[in-house]
């Protein structure tokens, strides 16, 4: 192993190092949750700094390790930074939820960090096998996190549904992968792309491609492969839901970027139709079902399905590009949307997590009545996240939606332009159920004699201080990505260029 290898692997080694450190400290000093919190939060900040410092694409160079099966380019670094943000906000928000319920925080931190290491592995994979390993390393801790409240029926029920359908889809994905390997003779992403470039698609490869598509659609929870999502999201402890709705989803899109854009990008005319149909179904059904939900966690679960649909619009816009030198705005849209989605969705779930089971508040929407008087700052933040999910300027969500929809409108393929129209209609329909929560919080009166929610006392209680830091981070991200997106846009443009670069 050379020093160049080490540079490429530094973010991955850093996150694994922090995870093992927290694990070791918990062995030596069991039950010291405050120590685990401090180590986890400081550790993930260090991981972020390492990722930033060693990041690929600063000068367009690609660093690779393990004989070229793991490569860090601008896209890897961008996605890694999104994962770091997701982990950091989750770790900040979680102690306030886990502590009072008697759930151990050290185990939570360690499991989360191992999952993040899987996400890093996916983002940097230059080999289909490494990609699959990363996927498994991402989802196995995810199943455990979903069942983290193991004495509670809902949590274990969500976990088993997540596990059964998750490993079912992993098997399908792997079957497709085996056929792609068998018929192209290589697992290297670049070599698969080269092998596919010549000649028409044989039946074995076509089958492999179909299985890969189905497996990936399960992982991003695209309709009709979404059945596990609402139950897994509703049942899991809320900080875990915040993570599950962002981390594995962004990682699954990283997987799609590596497999579909890099490896199968040359034959995109073969799969653009499937993506258009998946995108249309996903956003429409996600929004329609979200309209009827009375539980906020379940509503946000369906809303996350709808957002998967919007991101797929960006993929369809790229896939409809003619062969040769494609426009990259669809890919840029996907990447920007994932960052925006991470901030706003984490924020929304973080508010739900903070309020859940405080006096008079559950995850039912009705209990949010009059929240503006009972806990004004939390209500304003929640309104900000919901408006961003709607896509109202000047928030992150607006830029994300505008980016993918503009990319689709500029397409030469009429089906993709129709998809853009459908996305706009969907965004308008979605405003109804997001704004309903805002109406409850701002315009309804709370029942008489409700005690205060009790999220004050930042300085007295460390858990509340962390919680508000996490909420503030999500809020700042949501606003900054909307008001001043230029730095992120520069990274996104470089990352998209790295994805379609030859070689």
């Amino acid at each position: 192993m050379t020093s160049a290898d080490l540079t490429a692997l530094a973010p991955l080694l850093a996150v694994l190092g922090v995870a093992i450190l927290v694990l070791a400290v918990d062995f030596v000093l069991p039950g010291r949750d405050d120590l685990a919190v401090a180590l986890g939060v400081v550790g993930i900040v260090v991981v972020g700094a390492v990722t930033w410092a060693t990041g690929g694409g600063v000068d367009g160079a690609i660093q690779s390790a393990f004989g070229g099966s793991y490569a860090v380019d601008a896209a890897t670094t961008f996605l890694d930074l999104v994962f770091v943000v997701i982990a950091l906000i989750t770790l900040l928000v979680a102690p306030d939820y886990l502590g009072p319920r008697g759930l151990p925080f050290a185990e939570f931190t360690v499991t989360l960090l191992f999952a993040i290491s899987g996400a890093f592995l996916i983002a940097g994979s230059a080999d289909l096998l490494v990609l699959f390993l990363g996927l498994e390393l991402l989802v196995l801790p995810g199943y455990m996190l979903a069942g983290f409240h193991k004495r509670e029926g809902l949590s274990t029920e969500g976990a088993i549904k997540y596990f059964l359908l998750g490993s079912f889809s992993s098997a399908i994905f792997l079957f497709g992968l085996a056929f792609v390997w068998g018929f192209t003779g290589t697992t290297r992403i670049a070599e698969v792309a080269a092998a596919l470039a010549g000649g028409p698609l044989g039946p074995g490869l076509a089958m492999g491609l179909a299985f890969l598509t189905a497996g990936a659609a399960f992982k991003i929870a695209a309709v009709p492969f979404h059945y596990w999502t609402p139950d897994a999201y509703q049942g899991s402890p809320t900080p875990v839901t915040a993570y599950l709705s962002t981390g594995p989803k962004v990682a699954a899109f990283a997987l799609i970027l590596r497999v579909f854009v890099e490896s199968l990008g040359g034959i995109r005319a073969e799969w653009v139709g499937a993506i258009v149909v998946l995108a249309a179904l996903t956003m429409t059904l996600g929004n329609l079902v979200a309209l009827t939900q009375s539980n906020l966690k379940r509503m946000l679960a369906y809303s996350s399905i709808a957002h998967t649909g919007y991101i797929l619009v960006g993929l369809a816009a790229f896939a409809a590009e003619p062969a040769g030198d494609p426009s990259r705005s669809g890919l840029e849209g996907i990447l920007f949307y994932t960052a925006a989605y991470a901030f706003m969705n984490l924020g929304a779930f973080a508010v739900v997590s903070a309020l859940q089971r405080r006096p008079g508040v559950t995850s039912e929407i009705g209990t949010y009545a009059g929240l503006i008087r009972r806990e004004p700052v939390a209500a304003v933040l929640m309104a900000l996240f919901l408006l961003s999910l709607v896509g109202i300027p000047p928030t992150a969500g607006f830029f994300g939606k505008a980016y993918v929809i503009l990319a689709a409108v500029q397409s030469t393929d009429p089906a993709v332009v129709a998809l853009a129209v459908l996305a706009v209609l969907n965004a308008a329909a979605a405003a109804f159920y997001y704004l309903r929560v805002v109406v409850f919080m701002f315009m309804r009166e709370a029942p008489e004699g409700m005690p205060p929610v009790g999220l004050g006392g930042i300085l007295r209680e460390r858990r509340l201080f962390l919680l508000w830091t996490g909420l503030a981070a999500a809020g700042v991200g949501t606003v900054v990505l909307g008001l001043y997106p230029v730095p992120i846009l520069e990274m996104v443009v470089k990352a998209a260029a790295a994805l379609v670069a030859p070689g």
Binding site: L140, A159, I160, L164, S167, S170, G185
Partner: protein
């Protein structure tokens, strides 16, 4: 066509289909877990077949098959742990009865 690449791939496909059918038809969480294992073993059969019949793939095939086995073992471990956790809460392995969140 016995002894050919196609015959073994068809066998792998048949095993995989039995696994999918078992997963969709059985309502017992343990049986569903077994069906997933069957699917993963079908994948492994396909991988080993490619290795046996395509000379260029021989060295890779055994490595990939070993890796799939390791992943399958990890998945079974986590899966059984979750099944035990929910069995303690619900006293049943039947997934039909895990319906606390149905709307």
């Amino acid at each position: 066509m016995s002894g050919s690449l196609d015959a073994y791939l068809l066998l792998a496909g048949a095993l995989f289909s039995i696994g999918v059918f078992g997963f969709l038809a059985r309502r017992n969480a343990i049986a569903m877990l077994m069906s997933i294992e069957l699917m993963l073993n079908a994948v492994n059969l396909a991988i080993v077949t490619f290795g046996a019949f395509v000379p260029a793939l021989t060295t890779h095939a055994s490595v990939i098959a070993l890796m799939v086995m390791a992943v399958a073992a990890g998945e079974a471990t986590v899966g059984l742990a979750i099944v035990i956790a929910i069995f303690r809460n619900r006293r049943t392995p039947l997934v039909d009865e895990y319906d606390a969140m149905r709307e």
